[in-house]
Amino acid sequence: MLKFPIYLDNNATTPMDPRVLEAMIPYFTEHFGNAASRNHPFGWQAEEAVDYAREQVAQLIGADPKEIIFTSGATEGDNLAIKGVYEMYASKGNHIITATTEHKAVLDTCKHIEKLGGEVTYLQVKPDGLIDLTELEAAIKPTTILIAIMYANNEIGVIQPVKEISTIAKKHGVLFFTDAVQAVGKIPVDVQKDGIDIMAFTAHKMYGPKGIGALYVRRKNPRVKVTAQMDGGGHERGMRSGTLNVPGIVGFGKACELARLDMEADAKRLSVLRDKLENALLQIEEAYVNGNREHRLPHVANISFKHVEGEGLLMGFNKNIALSSGSACTSASLEPSYVLKALGLGDDLAHSSLRFGLGRFTTEEQIDYTIEQISNTVHKLREMSPLWEMYKEGIDLNSIEWAHH
C-alpha cells in the first residue's frame, strides 16, 4: 500500500536513516560528555566517539581524519572556506572565481567578499549547466587565490568536471574549493583522486541529522589553512571553535559509513527509477529535461512542462507528493530559479519546472503513482492554460505584447 505523502524532495533534505538515529541516541543521554573535557571518563567517551566518527567521515571521501573540520552544516562550511581563504591568503591575492549556478551560501559569501574589497569572477555556465573549462582557465590571474565550483548542482543535479577543474587550479597554483553537498554519499567523491583542496558537505542530505557538516581542509600538497570565522576555544585545529555536537557528529559518522556501504546499490537502483520517471514524463508533449543528462546525479531530474506554471502544477498533487518547483511563485521572491535562468531558459520554461530528488527510501510504486499524478495534472492545467491554447493555434507567444504589471 502506498503511504502518503510521498517524499521526492531529497535534494532539500533527506529523512534520517533509522540506523543513524540508533547510533546517536546514547550520546544525548548516558554519553553526554564534552569532547574537550580531558580529565574524566565522560569527556574521554565523547572524544572517542568523535574520533571514530571523524574516521568514518574521512574514509567516505578518501581523506585523513585530521583533515576533517566539523561545522554546523554546509552553509557554515561554504562561508568558512571562502572567507577563511580570503583572509588567510590575503598576501597572495584577492581574486576568487566561482559560477552563477552555485548555491546561495557560496554566491552570497562571494558578494560579501566583494564588499570587503575582494574581486570575484562569476562564470556563466553552458546551456547544459556545465562550466566551460577554457573560460575558467582564462579567468585566472596572478591575484587569483581560489576557485569555488560546486561538485553537483542542487537544482538540476549536473556534475561539474571536478578533476579537470582541479588540474587547472593546480597548474596555476590556485586553491580549489568545492561545495559537494549533493554529491557526497551519492556518488564516489575522493579528495585525492579529484584533487580537491577544500570541500564542504553536510549530514542532512545523506540520511544524517540536520545541523552538522564538515569542511575537508587538505593538510599535504599543499597544506591548506583557513582563518577561523568564529573566535573561541580553538577547537578543530583552531579553524572552528565551539563545543562539538557529539550526537550530531556520531550520526554524521554513521551516515557516512552507511553511504560508503550502500552508495553503489542505492545509485544503481535510483538511476533506474529516475530514468523510468523521466522517460515517462517526457512522453508528455513539450516536456524538457533541464541540464546535462549524462553528467548528472543518478537520483535527480529537473523537468519543465511548457505552458503550465510550476506552483499551479504542484498544487495538483502536493497533498500526496512532496516536490519542489523552480517557479518564483513557490518562493517569497517573484523571480524564478536563477539556476534555470543561468542555463538560458526563458522565464516561461523556468516557471514551469519541477525538481525531483529521489532517495534511499523511494519505491517503484511511488514513482508509478507520481508519473500518473503529474501527467494528469499537466493535462488538466493545459486545458486551462491560455498559453497552451495559443501554442496549439500556432500563435507565437513572443509576438504578443504582454501588459507588464
Partner: protein
Amino acid sequence: MAYSEKVIDHYTNPKNVGTLDKSSKKVGTGLVGAPECGDVMRLQIEVDDATGVITDAKFKTFGCGSAIASSSLATEWLKGRTIDEAVTIDNMDLVEELNLPPVKIHCSVLAEDAIKAAINDYRVKNGLEELAFEEKGVH
C-alpha cells in the same frame, strides 16, 4: 503554504474554463499578465447589448492555484451582472472570499485587471470610450 478550502475547491473544480469567440462583437476579451511573471490570465465576457448584462464568462489561466481560483471566482461573479456593475469588482473582494494570504494578493489583482481589460475590449468594440483605470499592478 497551505491553501484555503475555497482555493482548493476552485482549483479542483474550476468554473467556466473555456473560450468565447473573441471576434464576436458581443464578446470582450482581457489578456493580462506575462509569461515571465509566471502568470497569464485570459478572461472573456459575453454581453447582451440590449441590457448590458453579462450572459456568459470564461477564463483560462496560466498561474498558481490562487490565480486559477481568482479567475474562476471572477467568472462566477460576472455572470448576471451588468458591465457597469462588473467594473466595481475589487481584487480585495476576491482576496476576502478566497482567504488569500498577502503574498497571493497579486494573483487577485491580475483577475481584477483581466475583468477591466475585458470590459474595455467590449466597450471599444461597441463604440464606447475606454474607461481609465488606475494601475494596481504589483508585479
